[in-house]
Symmetry: C2
Subunit: 428 residues, 2 copies
């Protein structure tokens, strides 16, 4: 027996491309040193001596990837959703984020957060923390300990917000650099990410300093782009010198100069979409949040047609849902309305497309993640769908579709990241 080899037997389904599921009924997936080495209908003799983890009746699928999540808004899920983006920030969001100056409050909520992310089967996630370094470091340590993959960004903001949540520009940059230095090589699974909140919250000096830090240490970047019409108008007012919203980030080397992901992109222009494709900037599609905050519907088909890399995201707490499966449903629904809105030109997303976006699409931001092709990290969920109805006469694709639509965390039996089974995190 080779301890570096794990073999899983079950019904394997994943999306190497967005256009179709790849299905292996009752097959074996061989994992060596945390990476997929192959999928087989029958095992070679030498492998048949290895230990086999039997999930025969179950589905084995890639773990979910969430490209945009505000950790300090976790306790606000489901609250204040009768408001639009800007008033919602002022009334609910900023006051909640302020609480993370208190490390004890942060510990209480962030432990629940780790448990929730584990529970819903998200195996890789990109987090906004708050402006507070100590709480951000705690968030990092908790995910590192849980062995769930994450990018974690200390938020930067030095204008246009209540005083109690604004930073001094220099201090903001100094603390960000300290965070990067302390954590960039600390963990194999959790990494820092440069995180200007969004253009209206960051002075040109801050944006410039953050772009320099990202380049100096080759750290990825995340921010928000064109979520809401008022926000887009505001950016135009603040930056009349720029061609458009994306151009502001680009000018400060925060738009693909290192690996970058932008959340929302509801009102992104064709020019900006082309710049995203050219600069390999990812779009994090957050349909539930865009509904909840009355923002609108991202024209996701246009991004895919232009070869922009797209992943899915919850955007808690603009989104109340923590499950990427539920975001997949919302993404399909939103694209169907967009199809009607565009006079049936922008074809709606189908199930394989959203599954791709929520696994390999977003997963590629982390490397070889989100698929079961050889060489990919074995990030996986073991799904028991026996309580969702009969499985006889259903294809694997139908069983997976049904799980996405009507399953929940109770159907997820086990979670793996890089071949390691993720234990249930302690909450208290």
């Amino acid at each position: 027996m080779d301890d570096n080899i794990k073999i899983f037997k079950g019904n394997i389904i994943f999306t190497p491309t967005k256009d179709a599921f790849k299905c292996h009924n009752n097959a074996y997936i061989v994992v060596e040193n945390g990476k997929v080495s192959g999928i087989y209908d029958n095992l070679e003799d030498k492998l048949s001596k290895e230990q086999i983890i039997d999930c025969s009746q179950m589905l084995i699928v890639p773990g979910f990837v969430d490209l945009h999540f505000h950790a300090p808004q976790f306790a606000n899920r489901g609250l204040g959703l009768d408001k639009e983006l800007l008033p919602w920030l002022e009334t609910y969001t900023f006051p909640e984020e302020k609480k993370y100056e208190d490390i004890h409050y942060a510990e209480k909520i962030y432990k629940r957060l780790v448990h929730e992310i584990w529970k819903v089967g998200t195996t890789r996630i990109v987090f906004f923390s708050s402006i507070h370094s100590e709480s951000t470091e705690l968030l990092f340590d908790l995910f590192d300990k849980a062995k769930i993959g994450a990018y974690i960004g200390k938020v930067n903001m030095d204008r246009n917000a209540p005083d109690y949540i604004l930073e001094d520009t220099e201090k903001s940059l100094r603390e960000t650099e300290n965070f990067i230095l302390k954590y960039k090589d600390k963990s194999d699974l959790v990494k820092p990410i440069v995180t200007p909140r969004f253009v209206p919250s960051c002075t040109p000096e801050l944006l410039e300093g953050l772009g320099e830090l990202a380049l100096k240490y080759n750290i990825p970047v995340q921010s928000h782009l064109s979520e809401n019409t008022h926000e887009v108008a505001w950016v135009k007012e603040l930056h009349p010198e720029s061609l458009n919203y994306a151009d502001v980030y680009s000018k400060y080397k925060l738009f693909g100069q290192t690996k970058t992901v932008m959340a929302h992109c509801v009102y992104t222009t064709d020019e900006e979409i082309e710049l995203m494709a050219k600069n390999h900037v990812y779009a994090a599609h957050c349909p539930h949040s865009n509904y909840n905050l009355s923002s609108g519907i991202m024209p996701v088909r246009k991004f895919l047609n232009t070869n922009v890399s797209v992943g899915l995201a919850t955007d808690v707490s603009g989104c109340h849902e923590t499950s990427i499966a539920k975001v997949m449903v919302s993404a399909i629904q939103a694209s169907k309305i967009k199809w009607l809105e565009t006079n049936r030109e922008d074809i709606a997303l189908n199930t394989s497309e959203v599954f791709y976006l929520g696994t390999k699409g977003g997963g590629s931001f982390f490397g070889k993640v989100g698929s079961f092709e050889p060489g990919y990290d074995f990030d996986a969920l073991i799904i028991d769908d026996s309580n969702l109805g009969n499985i006889e006469n259903l294809t694997l694709e139908e069983r997976l579709q049904r799980f996405i639509y009507i399953g929940d965390d109770r159907n997820i039996v086990d979670r793996y990241v890089k071949g390691t089974k993720i234990k249930e995190p302690e909450v208290f």
Copy 2:
């Protein structure tokens, strides 16, 4: 102690009107013979001797009402949702409905269905069954036994569907009359409803006969109205003599001549909406289903402004969700997109409005149901929201909003219909 009196202590919240929640922190609701007699901050002496059911930390809210659900589509939830209405009917829905000619299959699935409806806290529901009398009677008996309130309709259809699911017109009418005679006075909680599938499936002879039966026995009516543009065009083709879709039903006394509910109403014209208001025809708003089948968004604000009675509905299996709480979220989200689509004219629904629609709005179809005003049936859910986050510093309205958005069946501790606690139905 008076056995006809039950007193519940807890945090009581409901919507006597759609415009605001009525909240009673830590109060007593007194139920006599299954009906609410009053809500009190302190109990009078004579009542303090009665047994008190203590739900002090919990929320006490009216049970959910689902105005439109296809019982024989239950096993198809989450399947085939990459299709539009008409191809989805042909490929997934009709073949599944055919199976209900087999009473053993019906028994297996309908027992699961009763359990699911109990689980998600729906206390009153309006069902389409299939064309099969025996399965329809079984569905009736199961809900009667479970003590959950329901209208149950044997489906009628004699044209434009595969042969295996079509009826002979006379037989369809005869079996419907038999069902009405056998069941109209059988149960206090479960009642028959006349159920032409929709205009394209019913010949004029069938519609005429059904209208006569409804009037003869004073039985309510349900059907579908203007779900999809292709369907609306088809009805126009089939009935060039009629003013519009609603006019076809109206001509055959199936549009408010007895109590009537119409599902969807996505493309209902202003004239039709006014006729609905005038004839007191209910609209069952099914936003999840309308998304899933790419139908569109019902202009629900227009219906409310015109004083049409509106309730919420899942429309399983066009909708994958069985929970009316999730339909409430979907209704808010859909109305926010409609707000953008109408250039911010149709104001989006807020939380009290959707809660009203999903309780008292739909509940009024059943009588004094869906509120805790004196004289109302005590249909209630006891909600433990302690696992959803802190409850300190939250109003009851915020706690209820959070439950609607992020809670699930695990938060529902008990369900009551007409003052009787509903036991968990046996599945096998």
